[in-house]
Amino acid sequence: MTSLQTFALLSPEIVLVAAALVAFLGGAFAGIRHGWLVALIGILAALSLVGGQPGDGATVTSGGIRIDAFSTFVRWAVLGTGALLALVQSGDIFASAVSRGPGLHRGGTCEEAGTFLVMLAGLSLVGVAGDLVLLFIGLELVSIPTYVLLALKRTDARGQEAALKYFFLSLIASAVFLYGAATLYGIAGTTSLQGIATAIQSPAPVSSGMATVLLPVALGMTVVGAAFRLAAVPMHFYAPDVYEGTSPGNAAVLSTLPKLAGVVMLGRLLALGISAESETAGVGPAAVAHLDLFWQLTAVLAAVTMTVGNVMALWQNNLRRLLACSSIAHAGYLLVGIAVAAAAAATQAGQPLGDVAASDGRWTLALGGMTATLFYLATYMLPTAGIFGAIAYLGHRWPEWTATSGPRPPREEITSVGDLDGLASTNPVAAFAIALFVLSLAGIPPLPGFWGKLTLTVSALEVDWTSPVALGSRRTWFLSLAVILVLNAAIAAAYYLRIIAAMYFKSTKRGVQADGGLAGGLAMLACVALVILITIQPRSLLAAATRAGKTLTSPVPLATADLDTIPRP
C-alpha cells in the first residue's frame, strides 16, 4: 500500500521516464521521427499530474519523498521551463532531423528528446527529494543525460571540448557534494533530511559537539557542489567554454535547469537549521552555527559571483559566452536571496521564538529571501530561455556578398554579438523579442526582471532592519550586498545594451536566414507572452513563490500525511 502511494506521488516523474522510453525505443525500432513531439506530450502529461497533486500548504511525506508547496513550485518550474526548452531544442518539431539535409542539422533526434526527458525527471526528483540518497540520485539523473546531450552535439573540436570539460567538472562537483553528504550522514546517522535537521537542532551536547566540528566541512562541500549547478564562483569557469561549444538549445538547458537544481539543493541544506515546529523554543547552538556559517558563505559567494560574472561579460563578443557570463552573474543574484533566508533564520534561531513572533508581522514586509530567490529564478529563466529560443530560431545568416566578389560564401551560424547587427530591419519580431528579454534581464522596470530585483533588494534591506549599522554586523553585510547588487545591475546594463545596440543601431547587408526551425520561434513568442503577462501582473507568480519560500524557511507545523486525498493516476 505504501509503495503504491509513493508511486502515486511520483507519477509525474514516472510519466516522464515512460515518455523517455517511448522516445528511445520508438526512435530505434518503430521508426518514430517526432521524438520531441513525444517529449512535449510527456511533459504536458506530467504537468497535468502535478496539477492534480496537493501542493498548497499541505506537506506530504512518503518514504524519501516530500511533497510540499516548495517541491510543487519546483516541479512547475521544471516542467514549464522543460516544455519551453523542448521547443527550443527541437528545431522544427514536425520534421525530424533525418528528413532534412545534413547541413540543416539543427533539430534534435529521438535520442536527444529521450535524454532530455530523463533529465527533467531527475530535476523533478531533486525537487521532491526528502532524503540525501534520493537527492543525489536525482542530481546524477540530471548530470548523466547532460553529458549525453553535450556529447551528441560534438560535431567540432569546440563541441568536444565542451562535452569533456563539463563531464570532468561535473564529476568532481558530484564527488565533492557526495563527500559533504556523507559528512552530514556522519553527523546524524541518517540520510533523511528531516532526521539530519533534528540532529543538528538537537540541544544535546554530544550531537551538537559533533555538529560543530563536522558542519563546516559538510557545508563547504555541499555548497561547492551546488555552486557548480548554479555556475557560481568557485565552480563557474566552465560556463563560457561549454556554452560556446555546444548548440543554442543545449546552452539554454544549461543556463536554466541546473540553476534550479542548485537553488533546491541550497534551499534544502539551509532548511536543516530551521526548526520544523514553531512551538519548540530551544534550538541547539549547532543550528545557529549552521545558519551563520551558511549565510556568511553564500553572501560572500553572491557578491563575488555577480561581480565576476558581470565584469567577465563586459569583454565578451561571442553571444553565447556573453550569456554564459550573464548567467554566472544571475547565479550571484540568486545567492543573495539564499543568504538572506539563512541570515533571517539565524536571527530567529538566535532569539526566543515568542519575541520573533511578536515583532515579525510588525516591522518587516516579511519577505523571505527564499521567496525572492524563487521569484527571481522564474523571472530569470523565462527571458533566458526566450533568448536562446530566438538564437535557435534565427539559426544562420548570409555573409555579406555581392555578385562581383565571386561565388557566394556559405551561411554562417549566429555566434557573435555582431551577427545580430541590423536585426531590427531584417527580422523585427525576433529583434523586438530579444530586446524585451535583454531589458528584462537588465532589470528595467516594469519588466519581470525588475520585479525580481525588487524582491531581492527588499529582502536584503530587511535583514536585521532594527539593529544599528555597525561594522561587521549582519545588517551592514546585507546593506553592502544590496548596494553591490544594484551596482552590478548597472554594470550589466552596459553589456546587455550592446546586444540591443547591435540589433537596432547598426545596419547590415546580411540577410537573416531564420532556418533554425519554427519551434524555436514558437518558444520565443511564448516567452514574450509570459514576460508581458508577468510585467502586467506579477502577483500570482509572487504568491506562488511566497508559498514555496515560506514552506521551506519558516517554522510550519509538519502536517501528517493524509494520503487518501491524493488522486490516483
Binding site: R362, L439, F450, T466, A489, A494, L497, S507, L542
Partner: protein, 572 residues
C-alpha cells in the same frame, strides 16, 4: 463637465500619447506623412487635454489646499507582500512640469518634421511613448510607480539617441543609459529604505508618497540613516540634473541626440532630478537636506561657473547650448538649496523657464543643422540675412536664457539670486554669511559670463559676414548613417540672397515656446501663485531644520560641521 471627472481626465492625458504611439505604428505602411501627421495630432491633442486639466486644476479650490488633484488609485501589486498602486495625481510641485512635458512634446514632434525621414514610424512612436513616460513621472503618487516611469523614460530616449542620433550616437546612447541607471538604482535603494522605515514605524506597508512624507515627518529617521539615504537619493538625482562632477554624460548625449530627443532631454528629463529633490529629499529627509544644503549650494555655483566657462570656448553650437544647460541647472540647484522661500520658488519657476529656453535653442540649432549641415560656429555666419525669423526666435530664447528683464529667465534668476543673498543676511553666523555672500556674488558673475557666451555665439552665427559652410564638412558627418536631411534646402546656398527662412512646422514648434517665454516674463505671478503653497510646504521642514542648525551651531569651522550634528538631530 460633471460627467468627465478629473480622474479620468488625468488618465486620458497620460494614455493619449500611448494610444497615439500605437496609431502611428499602425499607420506605418501609409508612409511618412501619415505617420508624422498622426503624431502631430496626438501631441496637440495631449497638449490640449493637459492644458484643459491645468485650467480645471487652477479653477478648483481644493488644489490650493495642497491635496493632490485628480487622484487615481488602481491596485497593481497588492494583497500580498507589496502594496503597489497605480496612484496618479497632480499637485503644485508637478503641475507646471506636467504641462511643460505636453508642450515640449509638440515641439519635439514638429522639429523632427523634415529632419527624420528614415524609420519615421519608430521615431514618432518612441517620441510619444517618451511623452507618456514623462507625464507619468510627474503624475505618479506612488514611489514604485515614480521609479518605473523614471526608468522608463530612459528606454525610449536610448533608442532615439542610438538610432536617429549623429555620428557617435551609439556611444552616447550607452553612456547616457548606464550613467543614469547606475545613479538611479542607488536612488531606488534609498527610496526602498524610506519605505521600510515607514513600515517599521507605522506597521503598514505602503509606497504612497503622501503617507511616506507624513510618516517621515512624524517619525524622523536617525540622522546617520537619513544622511545615507540622502546620499543614495542624491546619486540618482545629481546625475540626472546634472550637478557638476557628474555631468559628463550630458554634453555627449545632447550633441549626439536628434533634435527632438534633445528638446525632451533638456526641457524635461533634466528636471526630473530637481523634481526628485523637491518631492523626496526635502520633505522626507529635512535634517540631511539641511546638512547638505551649503555643499550642494556651492556645487550649484561651481556648476554655473564651470558650465559658463566651458561654453565660452565651444566651437560647436550644440555643445555650447548643452554646456549652457549645465550652467543654468546650476542656478536651479543653487536656488533649491538656498532654502529660502523666494529662492526655492524661483528655482521651481526656473525649471520651466530653462525648459522653454533650452528646448527652443536646441530646436533652432537643429534647424540650422538641417539647412547648413554644420553646427560649427566658425562655419556659420550671417544667418540672419537668410533666415530672419529664425534669428528673431533665437534671439528671443537667448535673451530668455541670459535673463533679460521682461522675459521669463529674468524672473527666475532674479528670484534665485535674491533668495541667495537673503540667505546670506538672515540668521547665519558671520562665517556662513561670508560663504553665502561670496558664492552668490560668484553666481552673479556667472550671469555675466552667460550673457557673454550666448551673445558672442549669436553675433558670430547670425550676424557678421555671410559665410558658407565648406562643402562636404557637414555631409561628411552625415554620410554613412541613416540620418535624414532635407537636402533640398541646401541647394540654394550658393546664392546668399536665397532665403531659407522658417517654415510652417518650425513656427508650430517655436511659437508656443515663445508665447510662454513672454507670458511668464510679463505676468510671472500667474505662474508663481498657484504653486507657491505647495513649494513652501515641501521645503518647510528642511528650511526649519536648516534655521535650527544655523541658530545653534557655532559654524565657525565649516569642515567640523557634520560632526556637530548628532546632538542637534534629537532637538526637533
Amino acid at each position: 463637465m460633471n460627467g468627465f471627472s478629473p480622474q479620468s481626465h488625468l488618465l486620458l492625458v497620460i494614455l493619449t500619447p500611448l494610444i497615439g504611439a500605437v496609431v502611428a505604428w499602425l499607420l506605418g505602411s501609409r508612409g511618412l506623412s501619415a505617420v508624422r501627421q498622426s503624431a502631430a495630432v496626438t501631441s496637440l491633442a495631449t497638449l490640449f487635454l493637459a492644458g484643459w486639466l491645468v485650467l480645471r486644476y487652477l479653477g478648483d479650490g481644493a488644489a490650493a489646499a495642497g491635496i493632490p488633484y485628480a487622484r487615481v488609485e488602481v491596485p497593481w501589486l497588492t494583497g500580498g507582500l507589496f502594496d503597489v498602486r497605480l496612484a496618479l495625481g497632480l499637485d503644485g510641485l508637478s503641475l507646471w512640469m506636467f504641462a511643460l512635458s505636453a508642450l515640449l512634446s509638440v515641439t519635439a514632434v514638429f522639429v523632427s518634421w523634415e529632419a527624420v525621414t528614415e524609420r519615421a514610424v519608430g521615431f514618432y512612436s518612441l517620441l510619444l511613448v517618451l511623452e507618456a513616460a514623462m507625464l507619468g513621472v510627474f503624475a505618479a503618487r506612488d514611489v514604485l510607480l515614480f521609479y518605473v516611469f523614471f526608468e522608463f523614460t530612459l528606454v525610449p530616449l536610448f533608442f532615439l539617441i542610438g538610432i536617429w542620433g549623429h555620428e557617435e550616437r551609439r556611444k552616447a546612447a550607452v553612456k547616457f543609459f548606464v550613467y543614469t541607471l547606475a545613479g538611479s538604482l542607488l536612488t531606488f535603494l534609498g527610496l526602498l529604505a524610506i519605505v521600510l522605515w515607514n513600515t517599521s514605524q507605522t506597521g503598514t506597508v505602503t509606497f504612497d508618497i503622501e503617507s511616506l512624507t507624513d510618516a517621515t515627518l512624524a517619525h524622523p529617521l536617525p540622522l546617520a540613516a537619513e544622511m545615507a539615504i540622502f546620499l543614495a537619493l542624491l546619486a540618482g538625482f545629481a546625475v540626472k540634473v546634472p550637478i557638476v562632477p557628474l555631468h559628463t554624460w550630458l554634453p555627449l548625449a545632447h550633441v549626439e541626440a536628434p533634435t527632438g530627443g534633445s528638446v525632451d532631454l533638456a526641457g524635461v528629463l533634466l528636471k526630473i532630478g530637481i523634481y526628485g529633490f523637491l518631492r523626496f529629499s526635502m520633505p522626507m529627509l529635512p535634517e540631511a537636506t539641511a546638512i547638505a544644503a551649503p555643499w550642494l549650494f556651492a556645487l550649484g555655483v561651481v556648476g554655473i561657473l564651470y558650465g559658463a566657462l566651458v561654453a565660452l570656448v565651444q566651437t560647436d553650437l550644440k555643445r555650447l547650448v548643452a554646456y549652457s544647460s549645465v550652467s543654468h541647472m546650476g542656478y536651479v540647484v543653487m536656488g533649491l538649496f538656498a532654502l529660502t522661500p523666494v529662492a526655492v520658488e524661483g528655482a521651481n519657476l526656473q525649471l520651466v523657464n530653462h525648459g522653454l529656453a533650452s528646448a527652443g535653442l536646441f530646436a533652432i540649432v537643429g534647424m540650422l543643422y538641417e539647412r547648413f549641415h554644420t553646427r560649427s560656429i566658425a562655419n556659420l555666419g550671417g544667418v540672419a540675412t537668410k533666415a530672419p525669423w529664425l534669428a528673431v526666435f533665437f534671439l528671443l530664447f537667448t535673451f530668455s536664457s541670459i535673463g533679460l528683464p521682461g522675459l521669463n529667465g529674468f524672473v527666475g534668476e532674479f528670484m534665485i539670486l535674491a533668495g541667495s543673498f537673503q540667505r546670506a543676511w538672515s540668521g547665519v553666523s558671520p562665517a556662513w554669511q561670508t560663504f553665502y555672500l561670496t558664492l552668490s556674488l560668484l553666481a552673479v558673475v556667472g550671469v555675466v559670463l552667460g550673457a557673454w557666451y550666448m551673445l558672442q555665439a549669436v553675433q558670430r552665427v547670425f550676424f557678421g559676414p555671410s559665410r558658407e559652410p565648406p562643402r562636404g564638412a557637414g555631409h561628411g558627418h552625415a554620410a554613412g548613417h541613416g540620418h535624414g536631411h532635407s537636402h533640398g534646402h541646401g541647394q540654394g546656398l550658393a546664392d546668399p540672397a536665397d532665403r531659407c527662412d522658417i517654415r510652417w512646422h518650425e513656427v508650430m514648434a517655436l511659437a508656443p515656446l515663445a508665447v510662454f517665454v513672454l507670458w511668464i516674463g510679463l505676468a510671472p505671478s500667474t505662474f508663481l501663485a498657484p504653486v507657491a503653497p505647495a513649494v513652501r510646504a515641501t521645503t518647510d521642514a528642511a528650511a526649519g531644520a536648516f534655521a535650527a542648525r544655523m541658530a545653534v551651531a557655532p559654524a565657525t569651522d565649516i569642515v567640523s560641521e557634520p560632526s556637530a550634528s548628532p546632538p542637534l538631530a534629537a532637538a526637533p
